[in-house]
Point group: C2
Chain length 204, copies 2
Amino acid sequence: MAQLRPDDGRLLRGQKSRARILKAARSLFAERGFDDATLRAIAKRAGMGASSIYRHVQSKEELLMDQLADLQEEAWQRFREQDEREAPTQERVRAFLDVQHELLVENEDLTLIALRSMTRPGARVAKQVLSLNDRTVGLLMEILQMGRMQRRLAKKADVLEAARVIFHITQGVRISWANGLMTADACRDAIDTGVDMLFEGLTA
Amino acid sequence: MAQLRPDDGRLLRGQKSRARILKAARSLFAERGFDDATLRAIAKRAGMGASSIYRHVQSKEELLMDQLADLQEEAWQRFREQDEREAPTQERVRAFLDVQHELLVENEDLTLIALRSMTRPGARVAKQVLSLNDRTVGLLMEILQMGRMQRRLAKKADVLEAARVIFHITQGVRISWANGLMTADACRDAIDTGVDMLFEGLTA
DNA sequence: CCATAAACGCGAACAGCTTCGCATAGTTTC
DNA sequence: GAAACTATGCGAAGCTGTTCGCGTTTATGG
């Protein structure tokens, strides 16, 4: 059989099921947290058996990654709404990171499970997260690139690597936050400090 | 009963068992990787039942953390052997990171599982990893602090935050490496690039 | 010697995610 | 309309890390 039409009844049913699953997962994750939200409970709330979930998803973690994608989209949108393209690069970077921070602080699991997922090389969910991260890095790179063209950054600055460094800083600091070593505010400050340091350099 | 003597027969037996467990775990992790090394298989090789392992360890991941501690100790020692305290700060940092890199490259699981462990706040293994990381950050800070006293670094440089940033860079890059996105050499280069950027700053 | 206690060891059982084999519903081909 | 094929759904089973209750070894105190 050739490939099926996009309005195929089976696909439509599947899409509805998938939507129910994701919705159920979101609410349960919010109520109990990722680790305490049983797949069976999610399935029950979605009105189906636990094993059926695997028709739509390859692992429990993928249920969260769906949210991460949304959150990231939201971060970009909020940033773009208030972004001033002529503002100093450092300020624009900080503005983006602040927006992102604000959203992530409300979803503690997200940061954590995304990181956890990346520790399973080969799994699909790992690729998904890496891909999402790449998009964030891409946006940061865009900002940096503009700064470089305006000659606000050093000529030889490698914007891609710089964007990655900034991203790594945010991730690393958030691990400390998630482990209760610092408050959300301290987390934001640490990120800002780190980024400032990167811009200004350590050397005397 | 008061506390028992250090040469108590029960403790001695336990220490031998613990040693056997760790040895078995190391060999199996090396052969199959962490996720494919079953606790039952480890126990079998150690000559005991799977549940007995939990007399000595609180989770499977702790079996790896033992190795991480050793590896870190080894990295410090190797670094100290060849360290020249009067060398430029940036070179000393790079020398340490290179040593560490060389060791970690041989143990792919280590970075990954350490990171995974940190995504379980509250678990003992998470605290262990955080504590080990703190020691690494401490060493980096030591190097930076000396650079600052020699007025090679900016006066206002926050050495602790700087050390943390460097550490985050290494961790972030290694995730990419472990996911097959870059070779071990590219990983080392990326770390070096990132650190250089931090020293020299992005701003024109 | 006997009671008590502590560390250890074990097999069974538990709980979670995931896989499997089979049944069902929807679609196309003839 | 029958056959073939596909996406979906389901309950049972599998695998794994971990916990539990009980027995064993080793040491101490009376």
